[in-house]
């Protein structure tokens, strides 16, 4: 057991290292130069521009060879320093992300858990009702193939513009200041509904299809047949089938996480929801190296941590995996 997790952790560390390196490379391969954009505002004063340019380059550590930049990046990373944002100068990237992260969690955690839970339940339910199944299966296929941002736009149009029930931008009204008052929380929820729905609905279809197929497979498995020849009530057969069918779904969750986070990013852009996605979009448009790096770093960390949790859950849930990795716990 310990060996299994040690190996897993090593694999995760390697993945982290490679991903972060790519994360560092990507902004530097982008065309353009962030300092240029920053000093562009001074274009009326050519001399000042030059001085400012070299000063800023030095300040951001972009004047030294790439290799040294890379080493410096790792060094400061271990000190918890992600650099200073170029666009929201001189705010540290870490602070910007720390402010945005709660909104991501607020959006993604409920969306993932709720869609996983309800999708699996609906899928299992439909699997036993043939007529219902014929009806809802195409709907689920449509849902799961829907791009997050397209559904987000549709929802914003329908509920925000036409029906005018929900606000379509921001995490709360600009007239309010964050506090734990009822007014603010209610306002927060109102802003949260549409982005949440666009994530929830798309994921729901995928989970439901997966569960439906798995349940049908499990109900046809030998152990289900044997329970039937023992005249055991269907309830137990379904209970067993549901548990066994949910195991591949957990793996599915691990695979899906990356996609879900990308979906969250595009949804946040549509709704101007101030999470990582929204900030990342801004950072890319303005070539803010450090902010881009910081955002990706957190996305990498989120995916890896979530995958690791799923690994643990999987081992706990499936005795076959536990068995194959070396005995009982």
């Amino acid at each position: 057991m310990g060996k299994y997790f040690r190996r897993k952790i090593i694999i995760y560390l390697i993945t982290f290292f490679v991903a972060v390196t790519i994360d560092w490379l990507i902004p530097r391969f982008m065309p353009g130069d962030p300092i240029n954009a920053l000093v562009g505002r001074l274009s009326n004063y050519p001399q000042a521009t030059q001085v400012a340019y070299s000063n800023l380059q030095r300040a951001f550590g972009l004047n030294i060879p790439l290799w040294d930049q890379y080493l410096n990046f790792w060094k400061s990373l271990f000190q918890g320093d992600l650099g200073i944002s170029i666009t929201i100068f001189p705010k540290p990237v870490f602070e910007i992300i720390a402010e945005a992260l709660p909104y991501d969690l607020l959006l993604m955690v409920p969306a993932i858990l709720a869609s996983y839970f309800f999708g699996n339940k609906f899928g299992a339910f439909a699997a036993k009702k043939k007529k219902l199944d014929n009806w809802v299966l195409p709907i689920w296929y449509m849902l799961t193939a829907t791009p997050y941002l397209w559904l987000a736009i549709l929802l914003a149009w329908a509920f925000g513009v036409v029906l005018n029930i929900f606000p379509i931008a921001g995490a709360y009204s600009f007239s309010l200041t964050p506090s734990f008052s009822f007014d603010f929380v209610f306002d927060l929820l109102k802003h949260w509904v549409l982005p949440f729905l666009s994530l929830f609905i798309v994921q729901l279809g995928g989970w439901a299809i997966g569960m439906r197929n798995m349940i049908i497979y499990e109900l046809d498995a030998d152990y289900s047949k044997y329970l039937e020849t023992m005249g055991v009530p269907e309830k137990l057969i379904r209970k067993y089938a549901y548990k066994n069918a949910s195991l591949p779904q957990i793996t599915g969750l691990a695979v899906q996480l990356g996609i879900i986070i990308t979906g969250a990013i595009t949804t946040e852009i549509v709704f101007s929801y101030p999470g990582l996605g929204h900030i990342l979009n801004k950072a890319i448009l303005q070539e803010d190296f450090f902010l881009i790096q910081g955002c990706f770093l957190f996305i990498i960390i989120m995916v890896l941590v979530a995958n690791f949790i799923i690994d643990i859950v999987y081992v706990l849930r499936d005795p076959r995996v536990r068995h194959s990795i070396g005995g009982e716990m």
Binding site: A221, D222, Y223, K225, Y226, L227, E228, T229, M230, G231, V232, P233, K235, L236, Y240, K243, N244, L247, R317, D318, P319, R320, H323
Partner: protein, 320 residues
């Protein structure tokens, strides 16, 4: 009278018509009998054993009656059979190695089955442990998952589970087919022991391997293409078969001490007929080396000895 089958007919409903997989089977076995059921693939062995315990689509009940311990068994009624299954009539399935839920500990699995069937588990707890010992399994197995067991252990475990309620009838469906020869013998012996210890009243042992039957069966029933061919005491069937098909089947068994170069093993040429449109009269007619003009008519079942019945025109003629 433990089990009596009267004119049982079960067909398969297909798009092209009805497949007459079990056509008018009648026989009786006594308490304590082990009935061996043999025949080629597709002769209706599995259809027969399934129709006794789990008759469902695409199988279709056409007619006939089944009596177990003198009481009529509602085989055609899926719901009514639910309370009979496992308690009165139980099966060790062909897929015994995969019969238990892989993600539930065996002890918990038995608990669950009993709880959902509203049986008291407490009452059988000691008996379960005693029987595990009989089949050579450790009590600790109840705390294990099926994946942790070897094939033979799983088979024995399922054997214990299937007989835990002391059913009147146990169906053993091809349970030795997936095992090697030495394990085959051990498993067959255990079944006999279960019968001797009265864990089960009688057993139907389904197989395509006649030599296994000879070791354990009291009576042997031979089927051909969904029809009754011959039933009789195991000794008689092996040493003095009467139906032409049985004779050929027994002849196809290898014997110790006989060299292949001297007397090559012979099979029965040809294939069983398609049961969607079987030939009139005796269904063996196309492959029978001794067919006569009467064979185009349905052969009657006649008694040729103590507990020995056969459906073959040759015997009818001989006894006429």
């Amino acid at each position: 009278m433990s089990l009596e089958i009267k004119n049982l007919k079960v067909y398969y409903q297909t798009l092209r018509g009805q497949v007459k997989a079990l056509d008018d089977i009648s026989f009786k076995i006594n308490d304590g009998d082990i009935l061996g059921l043999a025949g080629e693939s597709g002769c209706g062995k599995s259809t027969f054993s399934n129709s006794l315990i789990l008759l469902k689509a695409p199988m279709k009940y056409i007619g006939g009656e089944v009596f177990l311990d003198g009481k009529k068994l509602p085989v055609e009624n899926y719901e009514k059979m639910k309370e009979k299954r496992y308690k009165d009539i139980s099966i060790i399935p062909q897929y015994a190695l995969n019969a238990m839920n892989p993600t539930v500990k065996i002890g918990k699995y038995i608990h669950d089955v009993f709880a959902y069937k509203n049986f008291s588990y407490k009452g059988v707890d000691n008996e379960l442990k005693r029987r595990l010992k009989i089949v050579g399994l450790d009590e600790g197995i109840l705390n294990m998952y099926p994946i942790e067991l070897s094939g033979g252990m799983k088979q024995r475990m399922v054997m214990v589970i299937a007989t835990l309620m002391n059913p009147s009838l146990l169906i053993a469906d091809e349970i030795t087919s997936a095992l090697d020869v030495s394990t085959q013998k051990a498993v067959s012996k255990m079944l006999v022991e279960f019968r001797d210890k009265k864990f089960v009243k009688s057993i139907i042992f389904v197989t395509h391997d006649v030599s296994v039957l000879y070791q354990i069966a009291d009576k042997i029933l031979i089927m051909y293409a969904g029809k009754f061919a011959e039933i009789g005491p195991a000794e008689k069937i092996i040493h003095n078969p009467r139906h032409v098909y049985t004779k050929l089947l027994v002849k196809a068994m290898p014997e110790v001490g006989i060299k292949f170069s001297d007397t090559p093993l012979t099979g029965i040429p040809g294939h069983p007929p398609l049961l969607i449109d079987p030939p009139e009269g005796c269904r063996f007619i196309d492959r029978c080396p001794e067919k006569m003009k009467e064979c185009v008519k349905e052969p009657p079942v006649i008694k040729v000895g103590e507990d020995h019945y056969v459906a073959c025109w040759k015997e009818v003629k001989k006894n006429a």
